[in-house]
Symmetry: D2
Subunit: 351 residues, 4 copies
């Protein structure tokens, strides 16, 4: 039984980790920290965690002050914290032999200059960063197994990379003309009291945001560049929008085809043939976000818009699961030699 | 491994049965029928059922024409059909030793005259009805264990009965002055192409409906009368409303207290002390429907509105789980001697 | 042309006043204040106010620091502020001959002790309070015409009073057993960055709140007591709920009938025969909130729940219009001798 | 006072025409037809149309059987009908001197072969079609003034054309690489009882649809080709998505810039300087659909996504107003020499 610690459990990725880990047969949450809410039972903050059948150990958890002594007794610690927290705590945990999965951005960008530009803070441990692994299993599975620190991908980057990668890897699209038109549910903004997120502002409304630049842009480009063999730079327009759904990301991706005769459906099916959590849909499909609600699946459909030379890829995921907590547990399973789908096999909730 | 059949699997209770049974370690869906969609794979109709990890047996199911030969080979058959279907098929299945759980109304009302008045059809098998059990485990647990036919309660009746029963059983309220002001999510109306259910009509809107009488009224009254020892008749105002949520029922119940000194909190905690799926919340709580989303829990808070002599009970449930498919599986577990919570322990999905 | 000032225009009642006054042919907003956003154009904060046809004077308004010199040049000043602001400024404005309409609670409760208990602040001007008028035109029309200060009713109190009043005035219900089960859209909580109001918390969710007491309770009781000729005290259970709609209040009201032979439909039609903004629906109707969206109408249907001795009244309004800004303008029209519906005749927005 | 007839008033464009015309000082709806609902009062079908102030003539309207005698007495007839109805009735009305505004597609596509391919019916009157005018005032204002028949643009085509036209007209983009990634509210699908439109399917969900071709594609291409002076063909990827809002279209448009030094903001401001209903937002703006809810405004922001050679245009409109009924009334105003904004100056409803 893996001993699990969670740092910063009061946000949406924190409660989602708890929900998923409660169903994980090989992991037990030993400790969960919150500076602000220390002393509060997790089930007092999140009524949904009150015990079913009065036996759940999750319901008995209480937020505690961050305390390294306890965290160092864990096998693995998840950081569901703001950017900057994990890198400050990483060295001591690594020294103690604890493995780390950071759901924030501290270990996502290999380029510390880019990190510092986008996240407005110096990087605390470039040496550990150099040693960490970007936690996208469909790309880095073997490295993740051995990683001491995993930087769990952002929600948009997961969907956009899984959607574009087969095209980039195959070298059949113009990498200078990529467009990712993305739509996110509101939980992607986190559990924060912000005016633009309140129901009367966000409901019955569709909006673009961050039109002048979004932190996930360099992360996506980094991932796609690693697969880019074209010799040409990779240029990406990335447009995030807010859609009034709670969970879910819908990525509509466009790339000019260099080779119009390519069999895109076969390409995608082959690329993801062995993947437990990537579902390539039948030709002609139009995915929707609810078909992955509360599950770790990313569904992908690939199209050629009539009258164009484009490839169009539609990719959906639950931003809190495959885009955050579920992928983190998938990484944990890999790191500890468990079957990759352990604890992640629940079907999506529909309707 | 229980062999399970489902008759009529294309509605919301059908797909919910599939979702929950996919996670049930002791049950396997052997057959699922649909006259209209015979030949279609369930995962082609409900993308959410496409296999995770390519191993789910649910994803391989195909709707078949109703076929008794196959159903009679099941241990248990769920009817997720319109009213009237189960009673037409029941005799043959019972004869074959198959146990039946009907999610429609055929086996809910003991009074066939009431059934025929509200459902506008003659009852096909009053003798089997007399032998069937009303599937509310918190009331009829022992009888359910031995039942051949279980009439699974309606969604409103489950919440309203669980909310009112402790008061009625204790004889401390005026049974002639009961009010159930209920609010339901739109999935309660079923998976039907009806104009008043389309998004532009139902979204951003709150409405009353069936103000002149609702089929669940006699079912609720029947259940409460069975607990009524007051010697007086039971009179209930039952007002259903439609609220723009997908899943969930919120019942606000009012009853005049005969004994204003009663300790309501203690009464409820004692009544439901052993119940795995009824959660009596701490004093002062205000439940919400999302705290039970996609789970089999009914949460209850009990209050005395300031300045009144009333008891007020707030009860929430997911109409598709505790109000339908989840309770049906709870009944199945009881009927086959399994632990009552088997396959039903997943935590609610929040946010 | 009335010269109008608005104090505190950055909340939902403020922007709604602007929207409605922009269409009012006899009123012109001369000044609008906001301490925090002084210097910002109103159309920069609320894009919806950007000019149509480049001619709207509303779009040219800029928030200014509260400045009495300008306010005293107005004919009427609306306070769309937190509780306590209007009473602090009232004396000087009254002295200057300016008439005041307060959309907060400062001039709603005649009993200053009750005000101080519920709003946790001393009342700044009990003498002006004694002289002010409660701005429910359907009750106080003549007094409003002459009022120097109008306390504009709260959103819940408007719907609940309009719903109950005909029954109380007629003396045909047991005033000790009143129940108001109310449901509000989220804009009723104001334009505030609060965690429980963000979309992922409030969407797809139905909840009760303030179950231990709500500030609108004493206001409703005050209004109903004024009509109560029964000689008995008036007892009311008032339960507010939050429903995921932007605008709208739905009040479901229950009262035991003393005289079961009363013709309730005729009673309501007669009581509201001359009222421009109260619509008594035909017998058997079930109102919905969208039927009054963005309009100043309160629609009412009256019922007798089958099998009970109750009257049940269903009342809907838009909490920002008839429950706030629209009623305030209705009061302004009365105070200045304009036809009562001036500027308020736009039909509801449906769908 | 213009005498107005409406054919087919039971859909969303029909009720929106009624809502807007009720506020139009120079037009009176004389007759409204519905074969299915003849004899029903419009206010019985749409409660929102019940009279405010008991004086509205709209509330007194009753649906009648289509009856040419009455329609020929109108000055203008709106067709808010399925495709094919207007062209069948047009000749007789034109002969009688009645002017026609068709909100369906009969008079949108100049190429009858394209019409017949996409709408699966022969065109009934190619000669009248040749004489009709495409009702986009920002392009065809002068022709509309004189038109006997106006084909009112589709909802997507209005937003996409207004968004792309300045770029195409200026000849500064590669017309072979246009992308329109569009998101529509659910009312765009009409008032139809279809399974995929019901709340439990469409709420809390974001989906693509019609990925293999949409009827608005040829209409958009026709409009853009008319402005295309590049000598090259125009190729457009058009991807419609469904977002869970009631009203609103959000179009995200991408076009490769031929001239990266172009001042896009100035281009758009100049192009739409005189337009009453096109609002070019300040640089850096991100529009949202609610900022145009229930109004006839199309708001546009123009961007250059960082790190690309693209122009990106964000355009929002209310699909039922500028995308349908409002634009139809704008056309009526032009046809009859009224100020273009008559009856259309109400501000958007926010929140």
């Amino acid at each position: 039984m893996l001993r699990v610690g969670i740092v910063g459990g009061t946000g949406y990725t924190g409660v989602e980790l708890l929900r998923l880990l409660a169903q994980h047969p090989q992991a037990e949450v030993r400790t969960i920290t919150s500076r602000k809410d220390a002393g509060t039972r997790v089930s007092a903050m999140f009524t949904s965690l009150r015990a079913i059948d009065k036996t759940s150990s999750i319901a008995d958890l209480t937020f505690v002050e961050p305390d390294r002594a306890q965290l160092t007794e864990c096998d693995v610690v998840f950081f569901a914290t703001p950017h900057g927290v994990a890198m400050a705590a990483a060295r001591e945990l690594v020294k103690a032999g604890v493995r780390i999965i950071d759901l924030a951005a501290d270990f996502r960008l290999a380029d510390t200059a880019a990190f510092e530009r986008w996240y407005k803070m110096p990087h605390a441990c470039p040496d550990l960063l150099a040693d960490s692994v970007y936690g996208l299993p469909e790309v880095n599975r073997e490295a993740i197994r051995k990683a001491r620190i995993v930087g769990n991908p952002g929600c948009y980057p997961t969907a956009v990379q899984l959607g574009f990668l087969p095209l980039i890897e195959a070298g059949i699209v113009d990498t200078e003309r990529l467009i990712a038109d993305c739509k996110s549910g509101v939980s992607g903004a986190g559990r924060k009291a912000e005016l633009n997120l309140i129901f009367p502002e966000a409901a019955d409304n569709f909006a673009a945001y961050a039109v002048n630049g979004h932190r996930h842009h360099p992360e996506i480009v980094q991932g796609l560049e690693r697969a880019n063999r074209s010799g040409k730079p990779l240029k990406l327009a990335f447009t995030p929008h807010l859609t009034p759904i709670i969970r879910g990301i819908f990525a509509t991706l466009y790339a000019p085809l260099l080779d119009p005769s390519a069999d895109l459906q076969a390409l995608y099916e082959k690329r993801y043939a062995g993947e437990p959590f990537v579902d390539v849909m039948p030709p002609g499909s139009a995915p929707d976000t609810r078909s992955v609600r509360a599950s770790n699946v990313c569904r992908i459909a690939v199209h050629r818009p009539p009258g164009t030379d484009l490839a169009m890829v539609l990719a959906v995921e639950d931003n809190l699961v495959k885009g955050a907590a579920g992928q983190a547990i998938q990484n944990m399973n890999l790191m500890f030699g468990l079957p990759e789908t352990t604890g992640l096999a629940a079907l999506p909730v529909l309707p």
